[in-house]
Amino acid sequence: MLKRLGSWDVLVIVVLAIVVIVSSATVEGFASARFWGFLLLDVIPIAFIALPMTLVIITGEIDLSVASVLGLSSAVMGQMWASGVPLPAILPIILLLGVVCGAMNGLFVTGFGLPSLAVTIGTLALYRGLAYVVLGDKAVADFPFSWTGNMIEALPGTTVPWVALVVLGLAVVFGVVLHATPIGRALFAMGNNDQAATFSGISVARTKFWLFVLTATIAALAGFFWTMRYASARADNGAGLELSVVAAVLLGGVSIFGGRGTLVGVMAGVLLLITLRNALQLADVPADTLTVVTGALLIISVVGPNAASMIRARLRRRPPAATPVAGV
């Protein structure tokens, strides 16, 4: 089983374990159940969006607009609630909003053949801008406690939020889809070589289109959670979150070039990122430094696996090359 995960994933899990052990011993309050309850609440939106993001990056694309979709969804929620629309009616509208945002990303990428990096940087700005158009600078905060309280409710007798369990369940579903279904096989194939995938009867463009739709829909849903969790709908909700999501996915061993990665690794990556950040926060490390940590982890996770495979390749190539050199 360990072999299947590949060495980078195992490394991330080991580092996660070390961070947890060291922090428990050195950082006061880290080992408390209450801290872990909060930590899991922080994990939820990142882990949730990381699920479809993993699939997107494995196919060789990327979606940087997720945090802006989250913000737009929050802003629309706030504006509608302020206009008197009840929450059960807002939820389906939010989902539809996600579908539309994702369809736009997908159309630009697959329909017009533009690079997803450029498209979603564009829609990152566009959707965030729309969020400000919808809600402006104000915050809508008068959501009923029956909803906001429920969203952070822990499972009876624990500090584990019930939503975390839902995300865990979804992670299992995504993991199975990615690693044990025909869909997952197609994703890996197109991520490595979309031409060969096309020649095998895989509809590359259509699959990618729906992945963008799925990603934005989940991001919009994450916006709903975010708004309820902080009981505040703002246009700038989740600003910069895309960086954390991408960092976590890459840290989990997914190749930025596509075609490689596991969902277990990604979940370990999300946990490592958040645990490290919250542990540092708990140890009174200033917020600016935390951003540095995210950035550094992002770099390490891009360079790390590539450096590792380069070293492996170098080692593999050495034996035959060494023979003629041996006498020198």
Partner: protein, 507 residues
């Protein structure tokens, strides 16, 4: 015609030249002689070793054996730069210019004239470019970017580049393949002026009319060997073709006799603007039909369109009478069509994935149970096919890239045969694989046909075409120009049709 020119001393000679790539012998004891002021044609089938010979001249490959002399001096080039410095310039069919640089910058790339402080002397560079174009008698803007130039103009830029370092030997690898009539005329005007200036030109072409109109001597190659060198006056087209193909068909091709059954694949009026036009044919159960023609005739493009990987503008494709939707490979697969593509590494396989994943990719849905692919299902199935096709692999979980070319091709075949196709399309099924595997592939195709599969084979190897096919469809410049039955098909008839010598466009 200046007779003295071609009676002069040889400028460049190759003698006893061989080149092997692993076990493949691309050139065997071959020779060539170029004299000042001659246009020398080099002809041969695809795979006759012309390209390898050109690459030896260009310094890209070092010959495994033999001698290259220039002005009577034996030379060995360590790389293209040395060959160029010695005065040998090669113009490839598809010129490789930097699209965003100007014509001038392209010509002097890497050799820009400098002035003080190692700054590029743009005005000298520009002046020299205009001089070169004047010498060639062409009108091209020296300042425009290379992007957007026609292939013909790009070739002229390459020729100007060759002149800029005083090339004495100019090798042109199928320069006219992508040119229109007027462009061809202009190119030959340039060639004539170069010739009068004493440059030796090696001209590789499949167009015999051009060869006979513009060349003084013709060298024929076959199977990596030199066959003959003659003056054009002493030859005719028929003789050249016979020399190009004249070999005995070996008994390597175990074609079983079959009775063709009902129509399995019907293609009618298939057209893609500028690529192929009005292609129609019918493929019956149990027969092997070859699609022959020269490289670039549009054969692969046609089969890709049939399979749905490429689009087509008009026409239709039917399998068992049911029309296939355009550009939907999945629909073609579901209808029972399989395509073993030309480029194994880019199209046939996902090199990074394991053997078992590759072998089962088109059937991932049918192997799944309740939508799930247990690890066992793919491996079990892949191992059955690997055994049947005798794939030599360590573990099925190894990346397919670790296999040899022949074994990779077997994985591609396993991948498609396991879909139990009614129509099997194979594009260059034996390119780049060893003789033993080749024979196995042929046996397999023959067996499939005997079992009622309709096989469409694109092949550039004439012996394979003649040995395997019940019928040969010959394409020339995007059209099927002739259909030849097995008993009438021989190397001459196919070659003549493929080079457009026989009532071209009569289809």
């Amino acid at each position: 015609m200046p007779e003295h020119a071609i009676n002069g001393a040889p400028l460049l000679t190759l003698s006893g030249v061989s080149k092997s790539f692993g076990a493949v012998r691309a050139l065997v004891d071959s020779k060539l002689e170029l004299r000042m002021g001659e246009v020398h044609a080099l002809v041969g089938e695809n795979g006759a070793g012309k390209s390898t010979l050109v690459k030896i001249l260009a310094g890209v490959h070092a010959p495994t054996g033999g001698v290259l002399t220039l002005d009577g001096e034996p030379r060995a080039f360590a790389g293209p730069v040395e060959a160029r410095a010695a005065g040998i310039a090669v113009i490839y069919q598809e010129p490789t210019l930097f699209p965003d640089l100007s014509v001038t910058e392209n010509i002097f790339m890497g050799r820009q004239p400098l002035r003080g402080l190692r700054r590029i002397d743009a005005s000298t560079m520009r002046r020299r470019t205009t001089d070169l174009f004047t010498r060639l008698g062409v009108h091209l803007d020296a300042d425009r970017p290379a992007r957007g130039l026609s292939i013909a103009d790009q070739q002229l830029v390459e020729i100007a580049k060759a002149l800029s370092f005083d090339a004495r030997v100019l090798v042109m690898d199928e320069p006219t393949a992508a040119l229109s009539g007027v462009e061809v005329e202009r190119l030959f005007a340039v060639v004539r002026s170069l010739r009068e200036a004493g440059v030796a030109i090696l001209f590789i072409s499949h167009r015999f009319d051009e060869v006979f109109a513009h060349c003084q001597r013709i060298t024929v190659m076959r199977d990596g060997r030199w066959v003959s060198t003659d003056r054009v006056e002493d030859l005719d087209v028929g003789q050249v073709v016979r020399r190009m193909v004249g070999r005995e068909i070996s008994q390597l091709y175990p074609k079983q006799e079959t009775q063709p059954g009902a129509a399995a694949l019907e293609v009618s009026g298939l057209t893609r603007q500028g690529v192929f036009e009005d292609v129609s044919f019918t493929l019956r159960r149990g027969e092997i039909v070859a699609l022959a023609g020269l490289v670039g005739a549009g054969r692969s493009e046609v089969v890709r369109a049939v399979f749905g990987v490429d689009r087509y503008d008009s026409g239709e494709v039917r399998v068992d009478g049911v029309r296939l939707p355009r550009a939907k490979p999945a629909a073609a697969i579901a209808a029972g069509v399989a395509l073993v593509p030309e480029d194994r590494r880019q199209q046939g396989l996902v090199m990074q994935l394991s053997i078992e994943r590759n072998a089962t990719l088109p059937r991932r849905w049918s192997l799944a149970r309740l939508g799930l692919l247990g690890w066992g299902a793919e491996r079990e199935d892949a191992s059955r096919w690997a055994q049947r096709l005798q794939v030599k692999a360590g573990r099925l979980s190894d990346p397919v890239s670790t296999l040899s070319g022949g074994n990779q091709q077997k994985v591609v075949l396993a991948k498609w045969l396991s879909t139990e196709p009614k129509v099997l399309i194979v594009d260059e099924p034996t390119r780049g694989i060893d003789v033993g595997t080749k024979a196995e592939v042929h046996r397999l195709m023959s067996q499939l046909a005997a079992n009622g599969v309709a096989v469409l084979m694109v092949s550039s190897e004439l012996p394979e075409v003649l040995g395997m096919a019940d019928r040969v469809l010959v394409m020339h410049e995007g059209r099927i120009v002739e259909e030849i039955a097995r008993d009438r098909a021989d190397e001459e008839s196919v070659m003549l049709a493929a080079t457009g010598q026989r009532q071209g466009g009569a289809a």
